[in-house]
């Protein structure tokens, strides 16, 4: 690799790196205080710079959440698409999706918190229409999975599929509110216990 090549890569990479750092900081602060209630100054403080300086890197406060949420969703769909491409049976697919979800919470905790708290409001603006699209695609995928599972006997068929979907969705994503990346339970352990509850409930099994 020539020095020139390395240089070019160096600055482009450095810039991307800086953006990523700043977005991480912003995501943390937005998640902690709420997007609307967070001032640009608070983000800048947390990043160790002046409020105006953030505008060298980002167009606006809105552009920041946008990038945060879009990044999280892209990552999430990457993981989901890999799961779906494997073509497992419904039960295995559900396991894999829940595991992928907790992995994503692990890697994007603040983004997930923001998504949970703000997407309802943000989606009203043109810029965030994609949040609604993602929600729709998400729901369709899950509902299809649950219907297939109910049809082939993997899941109970006496329950409202929409309700099952919301139940799983809400309990998984709400976990971002308390998940601690450095905590006692790693994401897989949480996923396992959640799956145990999803699948067999909290009652002891007969036999």
């Amino acid at each position: 690799m020539s020095p020139r090549r390395r240089d070019a890569e160096g600055t482009a990479a450095a810039r991307a790196q800086r953006r990523a750092e700043l977005l991480d900081t912003a995501a943390r602060v937005f998640a902690e205080r709420g997007y609307a209630a967070t001032t640009i100054r608070e983000v800048a403080d947390a990043a160790g710079m002046l409020a105006g300086s953030l505008y060298y890197h980002f167009e606006s406060k809105e552009a920041m959440v946008d990038e945060i949420l879009a990044g999280f969703l892209a990552d999430l769909w990457d993981a989901y698409d890999r799961v779906l491409a494997a073509g497992h049976d419904p039960r295995t697919t559900l396991r894999a999706l829940v595991e992928a979800s907790f992995d994503t919470i692990h890697r994007h905790r603040p983004a997930v918190v923001i998504y949970q708290n703000e997407s309802r409001h943000l989606v009203l603006g043109d810029r965030f229409r994609y949040l609604g699209d993602a929600r729709t695609r998400f729901r369709e995928m899950w509902v299809r999975l649950l219907e297939e599972g109910a049809a082939d006997g993997a899941f109970r068929s006496d329950l409202d599929v929409q309700l099952m979907y919301r139940f799983i969705r809400d309990s998984v994503w709400a976990a971002a509110g308390w998940y601690d990346p450095g905590g006692r339970l790693p994401p897989r352990a949480i996923a396992d216990q959640y799956l145990a509850m999803f699948l067999r409930g909290i009652e002891p099994h007969p036999g």
Copy 2:
């Protein structure tokens, strides 16, 4: 009862009634747009008056959420305390608590949404310390119940109790985000299906 007395009561009642109406409106708007993102003017618009006029009824924006959340919590604990006073076994108690929760969502949907989205941030201010207290009391009650149930064989004992607690808490309260008071399923029907999932999971039962 003297006419004077009746008058006084009449106006006091009328006043309380007006406050309640305005709080309902405010709760709806706060829930829809987020507390921080909602302006007093938007609340006033929804109530058919000018922004300044709200200050005849309430001291501040903060006083409004305060009253909204306090009202919801009072109602919730009323219901919970009745359940607990009945002294049922853990399984029956859990059923009753979940039913009471969905009833409360039915009656206080916007307040619950606000609580879900904002209590994390609000609790930092002195005025809302009681939110933290309620959270603590809530958690202690649930954890005790789940521990008792695990001890006496009503619930599985291979699961992390903290996780069970969060799982139930999150899935129930998150339902405020989509619950439709005029929708197809009444609160009890939703409670029943949620209980079915909590207790036995979504897998078909053997035998």
Copy 3:
């Protein structure tokens, strides 16, 4: 007139009156310092209020210039249309138009200054497209008049009509830059001398 009627009129009129006063002040300041270089605070200072208070009356700084310019143009076209409706010969029409122009400068001096200095830039924005339309209509009217006059022998026909148009337009409107409403020469006197120069030039006449 009933008291109620008077009241209603009173407040509506009072409001319109206040707006007009504030616009007058704003126009004066914009004309003096240039629109872009003027801060809202300077306008507010000149109006004896705080910057934020102006936003009770106007949506934005842009809305202020908009209203100032639109008001001036409406007034101008009122006057022009009355002249054109009279159906005079070209020479008389030209006299009347120039007189009407100086009258308008007399009544809207700051607005004319703003128009002269800023319309070129403002017209680029969607909101001010009407400035371009007015300019076009203005040019077409004048060019038609000068062509008719040249055709029927009222005006010289050895000159470029576009040039004649610009010559008259520029010299008349530029007068807003120095016209003093309380000065020695009333608008009609200035119009007369300008007309003398337009029509016969500054050379003495033979014979």
Copy 4:
């Protein structure tokens, strides 16, 4: 001449050349969007560099307009002084001054536009006091010329000399607003037609 000397001259000339190019660009942008409304970044964009880079060449934004306006005025007075030094009669002098003016507009169009739009505001700052001086000297020269012409019968004496002065000044310089250096009419042709209108008006001559 030593190589060193030539080098120094070479770089000095190159530097002057670069400055001139950048000033041309800046003048164009300032004229187009207005000085106050133009950002340094816009100038830099037009020059194909970054905003910060301009500060290698110029001390400040103000220094740029300063240099632009001073250059135009120096050039203008060069031309005027040559005319005045020739000692022609008033009528010939006026012709020559108007021609020189249009030549200057041809060479410094953006600077003239800036001068027209901004000198009123700029002159308030210490740095631009010379704009006021130039204006004064300019007026005195023209008024003296018109008075001499009126006295010796070259010009009409029934008109207000101040008004004649403003009339000529405004119509000539306002032409910078529409003059097109590559257009149909060369500066001399425009000067001729303007002189025809100044001197004899737009009415046909008797006889």
